[in-house]
């Protein structure tokens, strides 16, 4: 279990996520507004854009992910696709900002 804090405009939601799940999956299942995950994690849609400042425990973005991120609004250095942020044993107390 990883504790995930979703920071939304004017609101914070804390959700527990199972190891192996992605931030997108956890967010969709918890009904976090703004994370749609339309394509289900196939890297076809870019509707799960999030900001993640401390990415310890997560894999680095692949070239494909970097390319797809070009489609999002308000791209920042901390931008990631939620579907590519897979929870592991070493992800702990994750803070995710929802655009």
């Amino acid at each position: 279990m990883t504790k995930i804090t979703f920071r939304l405009p004017g609101e914070e939601r804390v959700v527990a996520g199972d190891i192996g799940k992605s931030i997108m999956q956890v967010a969709v299942q918890a009904g976090i507004a703004g994370i749609i995950g339309e394509c289900g994690g196939d890297m076809s849609c870019a509707t799960c854009h999030v900001y993640c400042a401390d990415q310890a425990g997560f894999k680095y973005a692949t070239v494909d992910e970097e390319d797809l991120l070009e489609l999002v609004n308000d791209l920042r250095d901390t931008s990631r696709l939620g579907c590519q942020l897979k929870l592991t044993e070493t992800t702990d107390d994750v803070v995710i900002e929802v655009p």
């Binding site: 999956q25 299942q29 849609c45 390319d67």
Partner: protein, 423 residues
């Protein structure tokens, strides 16, 4: 995932909004209404499974990479806590639009304030001797896929009838399992309904390299019986293919008979406007079962997850009184072996195509043009072209730049000066 043996006895038989069909469109509508809508919402499904994702069925689920529980569109708790009433195992078989009531084949009557038809599509049937034998499958639902997967193991002889997305994805998953696969396609190339000859040719090559046999221009005259189940497939030219399992994947037809019988205007699906309204009062529709206007009196029906989700969102917002209008840039994707195909736009009616061989091995894209403007792009193993494809759609492009993999596709756009707009 829970498989409910018996649906619970219904204590609520009237809803402000009743959604028929729990695929991607139906669930999107339910989820959007759950957050912002005051009235009661019911979601009726003919299936016994809680709502699940469809695209992985013929991709990761079939080859074992994705488990059943990973397919759930919402956790079970959502259906208990959201206020949306999920009603499983009820197939809506009749609609009385005057009385605002539907009846189910299982004998229930449910009344509604507003109805949303999101019943999707069913596999096209073909009339062949032997089509009802055990061992003959179709792939549309989770149950179909579970049954098919149980029968396919190492060395199983699988004959796939129909070389569209479903058939080809299933074929590649079966090859991965170690089955011996033959694809039978009636037309002269694979995927002819959704892509051009370049992509078809590439996929044909990849399926052959993967070890599948492919019969083009071949039609099936009969499924032969051995020991009470499918044992062979007879082709029109007289050849006989051995088969342990047969998959029929020749397309889908929109599930709109009930709506049509109730008087809704239907052609290639139920006709809706850009707010998702059918011709019947208080009846909306969304997803694979609908066709919608795209200008010049043309109607378009899409078979896609994106269309289901985005139309569902429009319908939910219409119901909540917002004036949302549907407009979509269609995208599609398919995974077969190591080939990832991503498509933007619609290639139908293209009059020119430019092939762009990628910098990376196995990567290439095809830019389709209609009247000099990009109407669609297929990208094979090239995320960067897929991303740029969204930018070039609708533009005029330089063919030389498109063909040059050293230059990004987006840089092929020919900027047009706005001239006299009064013309």
């Amino acid at each position: 995932m829970s498989l409910h043996g018996q649906p619970p006895v219904q204590d609520q038989t009237a809803f402000d909004v009743l959604i028929v069909g729990a695929g991607h469109a139906g669930v999107q509508i339910a989820a959007t209404l759950a957050t912002n809508y005051e009235g009661t919402v019911g979601l009726v499904s003919a299936e016994l499974y809680e709502p699940y994702e469809k695209p992985p069925l013929t991709k990761g689920f079939l080859n074992g990479e994705v488990s059943e529980s990973e397919l759930l569109l919402r956790p079970s708790t959502f259906w208990r806590e959201s206020g949306v009433r999920l009603i499983l195992g009820q197939q809506v078989s009749e609609l009385d639009p005057e009385a605002h009531v539907v009846a189910t084949a299982q004998g229930h009557r449910i009344s509604y304030g507003r109805l949303v038809w999101a019943a999707g599509a069913n596999p096209l049937q073909i009339d062949l001797p032997g089509i009802n034998l055990p061992g003959v499958h179709e792939l549309r639902t989770l149950e179909d896929t579970v049954q098919f997967r149980e029968e396919v193991t190492f060395r199983t002889k699988v004959v796939v009838i129909g070389g569209g997305y479903v058939g080809l994805e299933a074929a590649s998953a079966c090859v991965k399992i170690g089955a011996e696969v033959t694809i039978v396609e009636a037309r002269s190339r694979l995927l002819s309904r959704v892509t051009g000859p370049d992509v078809s040719g590439h996929l044909l090559q990849r399926h052959l390299e993967g070890g599948a046999a492919v019969e083009l221009d071949a039609s099936v005259s009969e499924i032969g019986e051995v020991d009470g189940r499918a044992g062979s497939v007879l082709l029109n030219d007289g050849r006989v293919l051995d088969a342990d399992v047969v998959l029929v994947s020749v397309g889908i037809r929109p599930n709109v008979e009930v709506l049509a019988a109730a008087g809704a205007r239907c052609s290639n699906g139920v006709e809706i406007d850009l707010q998702g309204r059918t011709s019947l009062p208080d009846v909306y529709a969304a997803g694979d079962c609908t066709c919608f206007p795209i200008g010049d009196g043309e109607l378009l029906r899409l078979e896609s997850l994106q269309n289901a989700v985005e139309q569902g969102e429009i319908v939910a917002r219409s119901i909540m009184g917002e004036t949302a209008t549907y407009s979509v840039v269609p995208y599609f994707w398919s995974n077969q072996y190591d080939v990832k195909i991503k498509t933007i736009g619609l290639f139908n009616g293209y009059d020119d195509a430019i092939v762009r061989i990628g910098g990376e091995a196995d990567a290439f894209s095809v830019v389709y043009l209609r009247n000099g403007r990009v109407c669609a792009v297929d990208s094979i193993n090239s995320m960067r072209d897929y991303v740029d494809a969204r930018k070039v759609l609708g533009s005029r492009v330089s063919a030389d730049v498109v063909r040059d993999p050293a230059v990004r596709l987006r840089d092929a756009i020919i900027v047009e000066h706005v001239s006299d707009t009064s013309a």
